[in-house]
């Protein structure tokens, strides 16, 4: 691990973000059919920081995350109010192509979902569908992404084998490599470690820690320790409402709201 990151990690010496409101969730409400699942959320997510969403199941944290790249568009009967802006542009802009938005905002899912293709093809998928087929470009991207996902050394000799033969942690990191292949600006992670063993989890967390030098990362997690470990900001959701949003340290050491305190100290429910 290089020394540079070591120094920046010290939470107490946090470097202020260039853009503290890079992603701006502005009075955002969301409905599944008639059920309101998000209630007027306001939230600023800083640039090149890790922001964690925590909260009990069904609190809306995943819903919010999946709204950031409009993954929820797939679901029937959805409706939203308010706005979400990324770098000042609304993601609901009717002139904005959602595909373009998703290219800009990569996503990693709870369950690793490598395609039943080779490792190589998995990584270059987003380039292929964009019609970028130059071999040399793809090769570069593969190496870069896999290195970025700390997977290069493990798989460089079997790039053309099926991705389904990898271990769970490797698969998840492959998914991360796939997500960063097109160099998105934002990386969404929906409980990326919930299906992984501790070692794999640790590896992914390390990766997140490194990736934040390049990407703005939003992570949903059930694991509070994880949120505490990897994030700079933490937002606590409960029943579709944002209860508290603060610097991670602040939120964990001395939360301002009792619900948060109860939740982080395990006295919840």
């Amino acid at each position: 691990m290089n020394k540079m990151t070591k120094n920046t990690t010290n939470g107490t010496k946090e470097v202020a973000s260039e853009k503290p409101d890079y992603i701006k969730v502005d009075n955002f409400s969301f409905y599944y059919g008639s059920a309101k699942v998000l209630h007027s959320l306001n939230l600023d997510i800083p640039y090149k920081k890790v922001t964690a969403f925590i909260g009990p199941s069904g609190c809306g944290k995943s819903t919010l995350l999946r709204n950031l790249n409009r993954m929820n568009d797939l679901v029937d009967g959805i409706k939203h109010e308010g706005d979400i802006r990324v770098d000042g542009e609304s993601i609901y802009d009717p002139f904005l192509e959602v595909i373009s938005l998703r290219k800009r905002i990569g996503m990693v899912f709870q369950k690793s979902n490598p395609f039943p293709k080779t490792i190589y093809e998995n990584v270059v998928y987003s380039l292929r569908i964009a019609g970028r087929n130059s071999k040399s470009e793809l090769d570069t991207v593969v190496e870069k992404s896999l290195r970025g996902a700390a997977l290069w050394d493990e798989v460089k000799d079997r790039l053309h084998e099926s991705a389904l033969g990898m271990s769970g942690g490797q698969m998840q990191r492959l998914c991360i490599a796939r997500a960063i292949a097109n160099k998105p600006e934002i990386l969404l992670m929906d409980e990326p470690c919930s299906a992984l063993d501790p070692i794999a989890t640790a590896k992914v967390e390390e990766l997140i820690h490194e990736l934040k030098t390049e990407f703005t990362i939003v992570i949903v997690t059930h694991n509070m320790q994880q949120a505490a470990r990897v994030s700079d900001r933490t937002a606590f959701f409960y029943l579709g409402k944002l209860i508290e949003y603060d610097k991670t340290e602040q939120l964990f050491m001395s939360p301002k709201v009792k619900q948060t305190e109860d939740y982080v100290s395990g006295r919840f429910g």
Partner: protein, 558 residues
């Protein structure tokens, strides 16, 4: 412990378990027995049997044409069912044998049961010959001499007799091919040209009558005359060839003592059934087998091969698959990926599922009414009005058969495809979308490849069902004897409007419509054997793919 409790130690209902095992055993016996029976009988058809000669007591009701001798291949040996209370028989006397006696022209039948009660002698003469003929099925006889066209006689004991006969039959075989070439293809070509001109003339006539048109019509006269001349030339040529076929004759005697004169051109092949070694038998068996696959049927389908039926089945199934795959897949993609999942889609899904259980005959009658009469009739009116009232598409044809079966099997493909699509995990879809793929790119690059084996399974099952189905085909274009194949060398090469032959219908037709059903049975068994092999192979393929698939899915989930 007392005795009671020991007794009750035995688990309750074990006898019932034995009883329930009956169902499985019976099912297994039925399926395995049936398949092996068909296999045995189907293979046996090609095996050259010995020819037995039987002598009966005279005047006991076994005489054929006044003779108490008969010869033939034994096809069945069974004990008689004696209904009369006073008769008791045993041993050979209690049996009756069915013989394939051949010589249908002489006897009037080719299969007959003989009561063995009055048997005097059973023998296997070495000299007896079995010849497969062009007409009247095979002949079983003792040769006497060969009358050659130069007037020479070749006695049966002459060492050159067998080889000469063989050479001559070979010669005739080649000539037969020439005749076929002339009569079927060359004359056919001329006929189709004449037909074209006739249609053109009719088109002109329909325009009305003015001198210009009259002149045009007359201009065709010369052409027609030329063509007719060509026709006559060819006909004369084939007549000469046909005459040549009968130049040499084989003089023989059948077991009843009646003389028989066989033009060599009538003999397909011959052999001495009682002189055959095992190697000979195998070679004859192989020859029969190959003929079965490659030759056209003869003698109202009871002899020869079933090539047109194999080919028809193949082409029909292929066309059906071509139609059913895109339709089924598109419908399934719509249902699974596009339609709003709600009560309606659920209902549609149930309905589609149930459609797979709707009897095939319903699809058949629909195909007849819709495809043949409505669509075909309309096509005829628009494009082929000249040849009306002779229908072109407005009658059963391979395209309508394929489409009807496609409609019938489309639920199978839809259900299988939907299942395969739904087996592709949501994560895979989202993963692709999150990479910035469009919906179609996701379907094309991720979902379809992942569900391809499932779709393939469905398609194979559909093909198996389509290949084995007969009832709807009977309404929409299958025939017992199609003069022309649906694909041939005459432009436009693929003739979708043509009627065709089909293995399944061949079975039905041979078994039920042929004038001599006993003579047809061997052929039916052979055809059945082939059809079953085809269908079972397809199904096994589907099962294997399905199992592979299951394993693969299991491996990828953790």
């Amino acid at each position: 412990m007392n005795k009671e409790s020991i007794k009750s130690d035995r688990p309750k209902g074990e006898v019932a378990v034995w009883f329930s095992s009956l169902g499985l055993s019976l099912s297994l016996i039925l399926i395995i027995g049936l398949v092996s029976m068909i296999f045995y009988n189907g293979i046996l058809v090609f095996w050259p049997d010995q020819v037995v000669m039987l002598e009966f007591q005279k005047g006991k009701g076994q005489d054929v044409k006044g003779s108490n001798f008969i010869a033939g291949e034994i096809t069945k040996q069974q004990s008689k069912i004696i209904k009369d209370l006073n008769v008791k028989l045993d041993g050979l006397a209690a049996q009756e044998w069915q013989l394939h006696v051949g010589n249908k022209d002489a006897y009037g039948f080719s299969y007959k049961f003989f009561d063995m009660q009055h048997l005097v002698k059973e023998s296997y003469p070495q000299d007896i010959i079995l010849a497969e003929r062009n007409e009247y099925g095979s002949a079983i006889f003792f040769a006497k001499y060969l009358q050659l066209k130069n007037g020479d006689k070749l006695n049966k004991d002459d060492p050159k007799f067998e080889t000469t006969l063989k050479e001559l039959t070979q010669e005739c075989k080649a000539r037969r091919k020439d005749i076929l070439q002339i009569e079927k293809f060359e004359i056919g070509k001329i006929n189709s040209k004449i037909e074209d001109i006739r249609l053109e003339v009719r088109a002109l006539q329909r325009k009305g009558s003015n001198p210009e048109i009259e002149a045009k019509i007359h201009s065709f006269d010369a052409e027609i005359k030329f063509l007719q001349k060509g026709y006559e030339d060819l006909a004369a040529k084939s007549r000469v060839l046909r005459e040549k076929q009968n130049e040499n004759t084989l003089h023989a005697e059948i077991v009843t003592g009646e003389p028989m004169i066989l033009p060599v051109g009538n003999i397909y092949s011959f052999y001495y059934p009682n002189r055959l070694s095992t190697v000979d038998k195998i070679s004859i068996f192989t020859k029969h087998f190959a003929e079965f696959f490659t030759e056209d049927p003869r003698e109202a389908n009871t002899e020869g091969g079933i090539f047109p039926a194999i080919f028809g089945t193949f082409v029909m199934t292929l066309l059906m698959s071509l139609a059913v795959t895109p339709f089924g897949v598109v419908a399934a993609i719509y249902l699974r990926e596009y339609a709003k999942q709600g009560f309606l889609v659920r209902a549609v899904r149930v309905a589609v599922n149930n459609l797979a259980g709707v009897p095939s005959i319903v699809f058949g009658i629909f195909g007849l009414g819709f495809f043949v009469y409505l669509v075909g009739g309309t096509l005829d009116e628009i494009f082929f009005s000249l040849s009306l009232p002779t229908p072109t598409f407005g009658t059963g044809g391979i395209i309508w058969a394929a489409l009807t079966l496609a409609l019938m099997t489309v639920p199978v493909v839809i259900v299988a495809t939907e299942e395969a699509l739904s087996a592709v995990s949501r994560g895979m879809r989202e993963g692709s979308l999150a990479c910035g793929a469009s919906k179609w790119q996701t379907i094309q690059n991720i979902i379809l490849p992942a569900s391809a084996p499932g779709i393939l399974t469905g398609l194979i099952l559909a093909m198996a069902r389509g290949a084995g189905e007969v009832a709807p085909l009977m309404l929409v274009g299958v025939v017992k004897l199609a003069p022309e194949l649906p694909i041939d060398g005459v432009a436009p090469f693929v003739h979708l409007e043509r009627k065709f032959m089909h293995l399944g219908f061949h079975i039905y037709d041979l078994g039920f419509q042929s004038p001599d059903s006993e003579a047809a049975i061997p052929m039916v068994f052979a055809t059945t054997f082939l059809l079953i092999m085809l269908v079972v192979a397809l199904n096994l393929g589907a099962i294997i793919i399905r199992n592979r698939l299951r394993k693969k899915y299991q491996a990828s989930t953790f």
